[in-house]
Symmetry: C2
Subunit: 258 residues, 2 copies
Amino acid sequence: MKLAISGKGGVGKTTIASTLVRIFAEDHPRVFAIDADPDACLAQGVGIERQVAQEHRPVIELKEIIDAKNAGGGAFFTLNPDVDEILEEYCLKKDNINFLRMGGLKKGGEACYCKENSFLNSVVNSLLLDRNDVVILDMGAGIEHLSRGTARGVDAMLVVVEPSLNSVGTALQVKKMSEDLGINRVYFIGNKVRTEKEKEFLSSKLPQDLLLGIIPYDDEAVDTAMEDGVAISPQGIIYKTLKEIKKRLEEEVGNRDI
Amino acid sequence: MKLAISGKGGVGKTTIASTLVRIFAEDHPRVFAIDADPDACLAQGVGIERQVAQEHRPVIELKEIIDAKNAGGGAFFTLNPDVDEILEEYCLKKDNINFLRMGGLKKGGEACYCKENSFLNSVVNSLLLDRNDVVILDMGAGIEHLSRGTARGVDAMLVVVEPSLNSVGTALQVKKMSEDLGINRVYFIGNKVRTEKEKEFLSSKLPQDLLLGIIPYDDEAVDTAMEDGVAISPQGIIYKTLKEIKKRLEEEVGNRDI
């Protein structure tokens, strides 16, 4: 099962992506956690130290190796099944979690991340998965990864939404653009919901059958933001709500043929 | 004076950018408010209706006109002083505010926003300003606009920071990349600060002389997020703190020769 997490900046994509990775890793032998945002912090959320993650080699380096091998062989290449083996070298492992990051930091004015996005798409599509493997992609904020088609080929797009008009606007735009990409399963996850009014707001703005769940606002995520390490504890309401959402995902996405 | 507003997703860039635009427009005859994020909502923050802004022609169309004119004339072009006149057609006006947006929405998989970012840079650099004109650019979340160099040429980069390690990490990265671009004045604005502990956290993590101000958390911004229209009232603490920050900007940036 391959899932991408998207939504407007600040809605909680990385918190939700990293927590889902941990929950799936409880009963799946291999979960790939892929950081597709040059500014994201997925590693910390799954318990890998910030510094260690930042120094780890990004997947884009593999492209340079392939390019060097294929020099003179034309502009196109296909990742062959061996990629799985090579990819092992790019994974930072923590228990059942295999962490990968798309690209490294660049200098100001150096270049866009088009190459990284395009190569990540090839890698995700080439990953040969066992039936129980899970891939979770934490996308960049906003909609450019969709106009680029980075997550083309995932089984479902999960859009995180907080109770604001702007966040809902982005979410509906993500749905439309995901469908352009041929991703037919797009679901919404409500987040940071404080009041009954906010819950009703989200329920009224989003298609009911696609709203996988609503995560209540919890000071836990704010209070731990100034500290290093995993912010979300398995005892808190965020983790518990996401466990329910994970069950629905397995029912709706997991049992179908990929 | 040309200013760019950046920072991690969700820190409050658009709220701060739009409020600064309104404050500068109180005593400056012409303020350009430029939305440089394909997913942003700067227009609503300055009182322009969502629908009207979305249907307004984006600046990138001007490039297509120039390209058509120069067909066969080589790959390079320079915007000449006439650009100011032509740009008038791309501005949505509201009192002293001239709103411009970088690019339109695209389909999923259609293209990146590299062309839009690069052209926006030319436009911002070509704007001939009177001494009292102000340009405020609301950048996309994260750091890719810096690796692209979209805001190269502004007089100052304002980085919005909330009390979290991730937000501080992005802010310091923005500072470094801005300096790569030759933007030597980089300032920080603390936002959504609830407690004395959070205030101390930001003060301890950021260079004191570059921290222009700290905006307290205010339910106003959350409570109005589900409604259309301008969220920040001139009577609230967010507006008042930004008025002080605007004064400092005029002292530190405005009085120097551009």
